[in-house]
Symmetry: C2
Subunit: 429 residues, 2 copies
């Protein structure tokens, strides 16, 4: 019980430095809780000479993370470099090949190579865990794999990109356009080097793919996900959705239905008074639904030094305590091949269009909707003094995307609407 | 890996029947996830002949739960009888003495005998877990012990009695008095046989004592908790608090400060737009705060067959997977003796009083507050046509309970207030 658990940490950015701080400052607490000392023996990063605000002098230094992963004095390889391929993947594979356990915060690597890495870890009798890869400090992987272990999971949802939620709520509160707030977020350093990862929904999509694999016992299938970013969300839609009792979120939804595995990361309307609707700024939220437990909602910081390091340490402490759980909650070989649903479950939709001020214009739109089988739940036409068109908002009853697309094409054909109507799914949360 | 985990279940009420259903219906899923079959070999309850909606014919029957706990064909004893002493405690002790693991939903037993039982389990090399004892289906014990294992926990808060939250929110939405809603809750079967356990804050207090032990590494100290129920909360306070931007919750707060361990279960005002303030009906919420992770909020069903059985199965599956974590997150012998704080941390307070319609009345109250060192943040005096007194509401700045009590005594002495002022703590969440 008193053999120390020896960590080798590759990547000393914000999160890496945060992990080093916890291991140093909370040594007694960690040993008390896990029954054994948790120590760092070696570290690796791109640049050695850089002040990271932590003492590193006691640890061996490796320029090459692969060399770090293979060291005889490292029991647990902590991968905090990022990137789906390259050094992160090479070092993770090397650690597993050497029979070492691995803890990683790397959502991109697992979303693409999760099945391969989980299988390799099992073959080597090593443990591979990734709590920090999804929703930062929220212990959601643990809640889903372990807390809901007695449930058939029915649906998983989440707002898991803090930057997107910051942009959407900032637009609303500041009555600002997307481009303006995007620029502001960029200046505040909230965006990834490639901002498409954030605002294009890819980062959040990686996270959802990992949750879906655990929830439904399927191989990770990032390629099978429907992804749409927030770039086309306008302040008009945010404000008019709010008027009708909704807020717009970049929402991930995964569910397994008779039509197959549905994985969507896209802007959705959710009721303003629901927990998801009430989520402000960069906070993350994950909603887990199981047949026994009902709905469990988890909320917390989705990024940042402390929260992400806390999640890394959760995995480290599990391994120190001797827990050996499969990467995706069941043996990698038992995960089934996902059969992606061709179409999403029916849902109500929000529509906004610029209706020309002509007699019978609204009747034409209503007729087209009716012919496509799309029925109207609520409709509002706004005042349009001095404008040639009037904004018309429609909330439909539940409909399929096919019927809706048919209706939208029909509306384009009426000639009474300027431009194309905006259509956003309303998720029942 | 294919040796089955054999459960003996004592107590076949709602939760017990729920656990039997999951084990029967989800046999394949449980075996896939844990790597071994999870089976029931024997059961026990007070009455044998009763339709519980589940097949029990395949299991051995024991009238005596102690005999069940000692059976050679039981690996894991599942205690779902309830009651702090009596058969539940005797059977738990018997199971531990026989070296068996125990999973229990019994908050009362652990709040009183937790230290003794955790020590006994450790001495016998047995595992004793209790996820279902706190906040039903929410995996909060797991989140706190494992998810936040790298954190120094700074504060734990929770709304953990669904019945009390139902009563408080029903009073507000129905504009109803406490007695009326209490009667309604009773008729709906929402109250324990002894309703004081619910409305007196004892049930929620048991839960908070368990969370505090884990959070601060101290022996469970239910006796050291300050407990106040919701019996004296009036519809006037609920509505006037709401007017000032607050809602009243039966809130548990535990924190370790320089003054010692503070454990309070009492009605508090919280901001109406905070996650705790937005909590409706019987839903539970727990807020965990750690030095690294910041604030994590968990929300879900706090009671009921499915949610509670889900939590029991979380512990069962952990044990099936080979996890062996100390009952309170660290060895029982390493838990320190709690030093209860003599006074609660300073806080703002909400005061409501019936001020007589006399010249200088308000000045007298303000003078008394000032002399006691209690300063006023906000004040409202309401219209009082045809009434000899006017309702006056005050929100104070942060103050100690001692200063406040001095001020309240002073107000009584002015002779310008009818009855005693109501004073409710405002918790900064």
């Amino acid at each position: 019980m008193t053999t120390p658990l020896r960590l080798g940490i590759a990547g000393l950015g914000t999160v890496g430095a945060g992990v080093v701080k916890i291991v140093q400052r909370r040594a007694n607490l960690l040993a008390m809780r896990s029954g054994r000392p948790v120590v760092i023996t070696a570290v690796s990063a791109r640049t050695r000479d850089k002040d990271r605000g932590v003492r590193l002098g006691d640890y061996a230094w490796e320029d090459d993370p692969v060399a770090l992963a293979k060291r005889g004095d490292v029991d647990l390889f902590v991968e905090l470099m990022g990137g789906s391929d390259g050094p992160a993947k090479a070092a993770t594979e090397a650690a597993i090949a050497a029979g070492k356990d691995v803890v990683t915060a790397n959502k991109a690597m697992l979303a693409i190579h999760g099945q391969h890495l989980a299988s390799a870890a099992e073959a080597a009798d090593a443990t591979l865990r990734f709590e920090a890869a999804v929703a930062g400090g929220i212990p959601v992987i643990k809640a889903l794999i372990e807390g809901l272990a007695g449930n058939e999971v029915t649906r998983v949802m989440g707002v898991m990109n803090g930057t997107c939620n910051y942009i959407l709520t900032r637009m609303e509160h500041g009555h600002l356009g997307y481009d303006e707030v995007f620029k502001e977020a960029h200046e505040l350093g909230y965006l990834e080097a490639d901002p498409t990862l954030d605002v294009g929904g890819i980062d959040a999509g990686h996270k959802l793919a990992l949750l879906a694999s655990i929830a439904f016992g399927t191989e990770v299938d990032f390629a099978g996900m429907e992804i749409e970013g927030i770039e086309r969300i306008s302040i008009e839609d945010i404000e008019q959705a709010r008027d009708m009792g909704f807020r717009i979120k970049l929402l991930g939804v995964a569910q397994l239905t008779g039509r197959g595995l549905e994985q969507r990361m896209s802007p959705c309307l959710v009721p303003a008074d629901s927990p998801l609707g009430q989520l402000e700024a960069a906070t993350n939220m994950v909603v887990l639904e199981g047949d026994a437990v009902g709905q469990v909602v988890l909320r917390g910081a989705g990024a940042g030094e402390g929260p992400t390091a806390s999640a890394v340490m959760s995995d480290v402490m599990d391994i120190a305590r001797g827990s050996r759980i499969s990467t995706f909650g069941q043996p990698a070989g038992s995960l089934s091949k996902p059969a992606p649903a061709k179409t999403a479950a029916p849902a109500p939709f929000y529509l906004r269009m610029a209706l020309q001020d002509k007699p019978g214009a609204l009747a034409k739109v209503a007729t087209v909707l009716g012919k496509a089988g799309v029925s109207i739940d609520r409709m509002r036409q706004y005042q349009h003094s001095h404008q040639p068109t009037a904004p018309v908002l429609i909330v439909t009853h539940k409909t399929t995307r096919e019927a809706l697309d048919k209706a939208l094409a029909g509306i384009d054909g009426t000639g009474v609407v300027d431009g194309h109507p905006v259509a956003i799914r309303i998720e029942e949360v």
